[in-house]
C-alpha cells in the first residue's frame, strides 16, 4: 500500500527521551570515543556551534539554509550566492513541459501548481561534499504535477533544466559547468511520494539562492540532484546525462543516491558534518530514507550505479 504522505522524519528516528537525557551514554553509543572527551571541554559558542548533540535532526537555522548555497550559476563560493542572487527575477516564471507526454504545454508557474496543496516537508539534505542540513521545505509532490501532462509509456526518465540567464546569473559566464544545468530522475524516482517540487522554505517563498521559484528536492540523493530555478521538464526515453556527470563522470553519477559505503574518489562519504556542528556524524544509507526508497534499487549494483 502506498502511504500518500509519509512522515518527513519518522518517529523512530527521533532520539528517545531517555537517551536525550543521558548524553554520556548517547555519546558512547554513538561511538564518539576520544574526541568526545575533547568535545566536552569545548566552549559553548551558542546554538549554531553546538557539537553533535542528543537531538540529531533539528531544522537548520533559516539564516544558514539561506546563506550557504551550492548554486554555481551565481558563484562557486557558497557564502557569496545569497548576495549575488538577491536581485534575481522569479516573476513571471513559465515552465515548459514536453517530451513523451500527451499534453505538452508551456505554463505559468501559478498554473502549473494550481489546485495542488503545498505541503510542509522537513527533510535531511546531504551534499555530495559531505556536509548536511535539515530543511523545512514547502512544496508539492512532483508526481502530482507530472500526472497533469499525462506521460506516455515511452517516458522512462524525467529531465529538469535550470534557466539559462548569464545576465542575472554571473556564474554562467564561466564554463565551470556546461550550462544550462540539467538533472534527471528515473520515472519511478520522479513519481515517488518523497520527491518534491519546492516553492518555499520555513513557510515563506524560497529566496533565489535556494532555487526560487521552483526547484527539485530528492531527499535520498545528494543535493546536486535537486535542479534549481527549473524552466523545463521533459519526459524522455533515454537516461539523461546530468550536468555533473557530464563534467566529471568518474566522480558524479546519474543516481547519486546517498550511500556511506561508496566514497567519492577524493573523499569519504561515510560521515558528514551537519552545518553548525563540529564533529561528523555517520551518513545514513539513502540519507535515512531507505525504508521508503531502497526497494526501487533492489538488485542494482549501487557501486557501479553511483
Amino acid at each position: 500500500m502506498l502511504i500518500r504522505r509519509p512522515d518527513d522524519i519518522r518517529p523512530d528516528e527521533i532520539t528517545p527521551e531517555k537517551l536525550f537525557w543521558s548524553r554520556r551514554e548517547f555519546l558512547v553509543a554513538a561511538g564518539v570515543s576520544g574526541a568526545g572527551l575533547a568535545a566536552m571541554s569545548l566552549p559553548d559558542l551558542g546554538p549554531r556551534f553546538r557539537r553533535s548533540g542528543p537531538d540529531p535532526d533539528t531544522p537548520t537555522p533559516y539564516d544558514t539554509v539561506t546563506g550557504y548555497n551550492n548554486y554555481y550559476e551565481f558563484s562557486t563560493d557558497k557564502e557569496e550566492v545569497r548576495t549575488l542572487a538577491a536581485g534575481f527575477h522569479t516573476k513571471p516564471w513559465t515552465v515548459r513541459v514536453e517530451g513523451e507526454c500527451a499534453k505538452p504545454a508551456t505554463v505559468d508557474l501559478d498554473v502549473l501548481l494550481k489546485g495542488l496543496t503545498v505541503e510542509d516537508r522537513t527533510y535531511r539534505h546531504r551534499c555530495v561534499e559531505a556536509w548536511s542540513m535539515v530543511v523545512p521545505w514547502n512544496g508539492v509532490p512532483l508526481a502530482e504535477v507530472l500526472k497533469r501532462f499525462e506521460p506516455t509509456s515511452k517516458a522512462k526518465y524525467v529531465e529538469f533544466t535550470t534557466v539559462l540567464d548569464p545576465k542575472d546569473m554571473p556564474g554562467q559566464n564561466y564554463p565551470i559547468l556546461p550550462w544550462p544545468y540539467l538533472e534527471g530522475l528515473r520515472m519511478d524516482e520522479a513519481m515517488h511520494p518523497l520527491t518534491l517540487l519546492v516553492t518555499g522554505i520555513y513557510g515563506k517563498p524560497a529566496p533565489p539562492q535556494n532555487g526560487a521559484p521552483l526547484r527539485l528536492v530528492v531527499p535520498w540523493k545528494y543535493g546536486f540532484k535537486g535542479a534549481k530555478s527549473i524552466v523545463r521538464i521533459r519526459f524522455v526515453e533515454q537516461q539523461p546525462v546530468n550536468t555533473w556527470q557530464r563534467a566529471a563522470s568518474n566522480e558524479y553519477g546519474f543516481y547519486a543516491n546517498v550511500n556511506p559505503t561508496v566514497d567519492h574518489p577524493r573523499w569519504s562519504q561515510a560521515r558528514e558534518r551537519r552545518l553548525g556542528e563540529f564533529f561528523r556524524r555517520p551518513t545514513l544509507m539513502f540519507n535515512g530514507y531507505a525504508d521508503q526508497v531502497a526497494s526501487m534499487y533492489a538488485g542494482m549494483d549501487l557501486r557501479a550505479n553511483f
Partner: protein
C-alpha cells in the same frame, strides 16, 4: 637606524603581526562574539590552509626580494615566516584529526591510504615538521651543508600543498591555479638564476645568516 636594525625592529615585528592576523581573526570569530559561519570546521580549515600556503610562498619570496631590494637583511624574516606556516599547517592538521576523524586512528589510516588528497597533504605536513624541527641555530650548525639540502624540500612541500588545495575543489580550479602560478614564478626566478651560472649565494648566505642567529 641601520638597515639591519630597520629589518629586525620594524619589518620583522610587522611581518610577525601580519602572519598572526588569520589566527587572531579566527580567535575573534570563535570567542569574541564573531561568527565562524555555517560550517565552522571547514572555515577553520580553509583559513589555516590558505594562511599556511601564503606564508610558505612568502618564505620563498624572501630570497628574490633580498636580491631585488638589495636588502640581504630580509633573511631575518625567513625562519619566522616558515615557523608561522608550520603553525597554521599544524592547526589545519589538528582540526582534521580532531573534528573530521574524532581522533579515530583506524579511520585516519584508512582515509590516508585511500584518498590522495589526504596523503598529499600529510606528506606536505611531514616535510614542514622536519623543517620546523631543524630550524634551530643548533641544527643549522650541526647539519652544515646537509641543512641546505634538507631545507630545499620546502619546494616539494609547497607543491604538495597547492595540489592538496586543488583536490578539495569541485571543478573550480581558478584559485588553486593562481597559487600555482605564484609558485611557478618564484621557482622560475630560481631556475633562471641557476642557469645564469652564478654561484648560488642564496642558500649559502642563508645558512650563514641563519647560523649567526637573530
Amino acid at each position: 637606524m641601520s638597515r639591519l636594525q630597520w629589518v629586525t625592529r620594524v619589518v620583522k615585528p610587522a611581518a610577525f603581526l601580519g602572519a598572526s592576523i588569520p589566527l587572531l581573526d579566527l580567535l575573534r570569530e570563535a570567542f569574541l562574539g564573531g561568527d565562524l559561519g555555517p560550517d565552522p570546521v571547514r572555515h577553520i580549515q580553509h583559513v589555516t590552509g590558505i594562511a599556511c600556503l601564503a606564508l610558505l610562498l612568502a618564505t620563498l619570496t624572501i630570497t628574490p626580494l633580498r636580491r631585488y631590494l638589495h636588502l640581504g637583511q630580509l633573511i631575518k624574516l625567513r625562519r619566522m615566516l616558515g615557523l608561522w606556516a608550520f603553525t597554521y599547517a599544524s592547526l589545519h592538521f589538528l582540526t582534521y584529526l580532531i573534528f573530521d576523524q574524532s581522533l579515530d586512528v583506524s579511520r585516519i589510516m584508512a582515509d590516508t591510504v585511500k584518498h590522495p588528497r589526504i596523503y598529499v597533504g600529510f606528506a606536505a605536513f611531514l616535510i614542514l615538521l622536519a623543517l620546523a624541527l631543524t630550524s634551530t641555530d643548533a641544527s643549522v650548525r650541526r647539519l652544515g651543508k646537509r641543512w641546505v639540502t634538507l631545507h630545499r624540500w620546502i619546494y616539494l612541500a609547497v607543491l604538495f600543498g597547492i595540489i592538496h588545495f586543488a583536490m578539495v575543489q569541485k571543478l573550480d580550479y581558478r584559485i588553486p591555479l593562481v597559487w600555482g602560478a605564484g609558485f611557478l614564478v618564484l621557482m622560475l626566478s630560481r631556475i633562471r638564476r641557476r642557469a645564469s651560472q652564478r654561484p648560488p649565494p642564496v642558500a649559502a648566505h642563508g645558512v650563514v645568516s641563519a647560523a649567526s642567529g637573530d
